[in-house]
Homo-oligomer: 444 residues x 2
């Protein structure tokens, strides 16, 4: 039995997770559409023997182009380009169940899984917000519960499509002119509430059977969904205690759903801000905060909290009266996390924007490499995490620093692989079993 | 003024365009999901200084897996992987306007255009057949005219999305904290019959503005659509005379639509079967025909002609009474081409299957490299083609033979570039202008 290993995912985002990162002299303001930028990040992450890369996404132009770099390449497309530039690292793309059709999306993930030799992962999102809905023929976003209902049916259909080819279907008998065994094709013939999908997928079954299923919503609906489908979960947690509670809750939900709790890996997001001394790390952080345009942050925060423009003042705390999470149809758990963070630390709006500027609600670890490694190990050993979603404030330099200075400490402590070894699928990296095909599982 | 140049597109398909190609000893029956196979094909085509690569597609499992290799990687995904393995060649992916949403598809093509440095092309199809419709919640395929109506609105929306960022939007003023000029964002705010799309695309404008627009339907609806939108047209033509008529018709329709007829390039498909002597070429062809399973072809032909099973006999001609093209809701022009081919050459069903086995209605040129080059030059000079869609019967060997033996002759005759020269966009390769942005065109 090998020692329990830490799983690391590199959450790539343009010039970094800090909203002001693009303004630093080192940053390339055109990075979002630059293949070399992302190729470099992928190479750094492979140098750090990370399990995977990850790209967030929404089918909408989120931010004001006046304020900061906006737009991004579509994640499956970008990760396909990175698949050919890497050998070992997993490739996790976000895609929406609300604004895709199962046939097309199942096919694209199967294609990425083939092209990457079994390294594809899907971060399943339901996509909050009316703006996205209006890009797809709707007047407003579907209700939170409706989105999750559709997501569950989407997953059922996608799994039927991925399982529509048995693994050993192809016989390739040239002499007889028989390529495959037609009995091993299983068309979904699905007729449901949201989808009707008749035929089999038009891609042979991929190395992993289907992509690693990842989920990142922490609302009650999100947790139920994760317990049923997710093999890895990204989550934003501000304290060890909150993270332990979330971890215990999700593992126990997995058990209740008759799943091995070890087959759902939980990775809180952290924004490491690293300096050779604590003071240097704090200075890095200060430089970033000095580049925030607080007026822009104010408007974004008002939208996020579903308040009228002008409702917030920079140097006051949040209003005492705010809507309960149940009234929010958008990103429910993120809403609660932000409100609780502001209340707990009695932050002014300006301070709150400073904190959110770094990681949008994810925890910032500021300190020396030793201190960052200590916190990682602490959370890992004390039932708060199976690994971490690393979200550098500035890219590429923040990822470089993490790999050069924190990774060696984690390796020395026996927490992280020192090399990849032979080629593995993304599931194998995460220590997860290859899923059975629903049409053959009973026969095994 | 440089001499008029021939444009060559390599139509890649698994082990080749002949339906029996996979049964040859040289063929890899797993080629459809093999990146190395496609990478090798792309490198051969770049060695032959082709303008572009092309992948056909439909969101449905077309053939019986028992009969021949089935399924394929999704084209934009596969071409993205090939973008990183090539430097010069254009990358044309087929995608359906009937079974995609404009926001997602516009974004994926913009992403490929960025990742390839301006080498993306879109072969626009409306996707015939009830089987595809049933994978997307419909009971039957929409009528031919409806599909084209939706396609036209799809294009209008896609163009609005691609033009929603002006070229010079990004200012990247780090000191002022201003990334872009918000006035240069133009949300489509489209409300139409088939689509409502409110917001701007979430990808910065790509090198070409948008992908090269390619079309391949030759029905009346298809030609009208091509005259309005297409910059390149793939077509199946069986005789020089038919090809000349098609060419003249499309150029004149372009003129009527107030377009420069030289800005719509016409590329008939040809299946070159090459031997060092005519006899050797015929022998290659015979080997392929000997590997056809005629009973399979019979059933496919019955489906294609919308006949009852059992309506055709292998050693008889087609029935005298067949439905007129107007009654066909599927691939109209392909239907007529096949019926006319059979009638003209008085083919038995068996002979017809043999002819179609090679290129599904595209013309097979069988002969020596000189003879193939002669026919290409003849069609090119006599107003039948601006170039050719090269569809090797067997891959990779057929493409290798074409590049090693026909390409040098075309180069010696001054018809084809001898090297790529500096990097160019796909439009530049085809001698086409970069399209203006609809929001700035008037100001130029």
């Amino acid at each position: 039995m090998t020692r329990r290993q830490l799983h690391l995912n590199a959450f790539l985002m343009n010039t970094g997770h800090h909203e002001a990162s693009w303004r630093l002299p080192e940053s390339n303001p055109y990075a979002s559409v630059n293949l070399d930028h992302y190729r470099n990040l992928a190479h750094i992450a492979e140098r750090g023997t990370f399990d995977s890369l990850f790209l967030a996404d929404g089918p909408v132009l989120f931010s004001q182009v006046g304020q900061r770099p906006s737009g991004a390449l579509e994640p499956i497309t970008l990760l396909t380009a990175l698949a050919t530039a890497t050998e070992h690292i997993g490739l996790i793309a976000t895609a929406s169940t609300s604004y895709n059709s199962p046939y097309n999306l199942a096919r694209r993930f199967a294609s990425l899984d083939h092209l990457s030799g079994g390294r594809a992962g899907w971060n399943i999102v339901t996509t909050a917000g009316a703006e996205a809905a209006r890009n797809f023929g709707l007047d407003d976003e579907p209700a939170h519960a409706t989105r999750y209902e559709r997501a569950a049916e989407f997953l059922d259909v996608a799994l039927k499509l991925w399982d529509s080819w048995e693994d050993d279907l192809v016989v390739a008998d040239k002499a007889a002119g028989v390529w495959g065994d037609q009995r091993k094709i299983h068309p979904p013939r699905h007729k449901g509430t949201y989808f009707s999908v008749e035929g089999a997928l038009n891609v042979p079954r991929s190395p992993q059977g289907y992509p690693l299923l990842v989920q990142a919503g922490s609302s009650q609906d999100g947790r139920r969904f994760a317990a049923r489908y997710a093999e890895a979960v990204f989550t934003a947690q501000q304290t060890l205690n909150d993270a332990q509670n979330f971890y215990a809750d999700l593992k126990s939900r997995a058990r209740e759903a008759d799943r091995d709790p070890d087959h759902i890996k939980i990775l809180p997001g952290i924004v490491p801000v690293i300096g050779s001394t604590e003071a240097e790390a704090r200075q890095h952080e200060q430089v970033l905060e000095d580049h925030i345009v607080y007026e822009h942050g104010l408007h974004r925060l008002e939208r996020l909290l579903q308040l009228e423009p002008g409702a917030l003042e920079l140097d006051a705390q949040l209003p005492a009266e705010l809507a309960p999470e149940s009234a929010i149809e958008g990103a429910k758990s993120r809403y609660t996390l932000i409100v609780e963070l502001a209340r707990r630390d009695r932050l002014t709006v300006r301070e709150l924007i400073g904190r959110l500027g770094g990681g949008r609600g994810h925890l910032t670890f500021t300190g020396t490499p030793e201190q960052v490694a200590d916190t990682i190990e602490d959370w890992f050993r004390r039932g708060a995490a199976d690994g971490f979603n690393i979200m550098p404030a500035v890219l590429p330099s923040g990822l470089d620093l993490f790999v050069d200075h924190v990774v060696p400490i984690l390796r020395a402590r026996g927490l992280l692989r020192t090399e990849y070894g032979p080629r593995q699928t993304l599931r194998e990296r995460y220590g997860l079993p290859r899923p059975d095909n629903q049409h053959t599982a009973a026969l095994v």
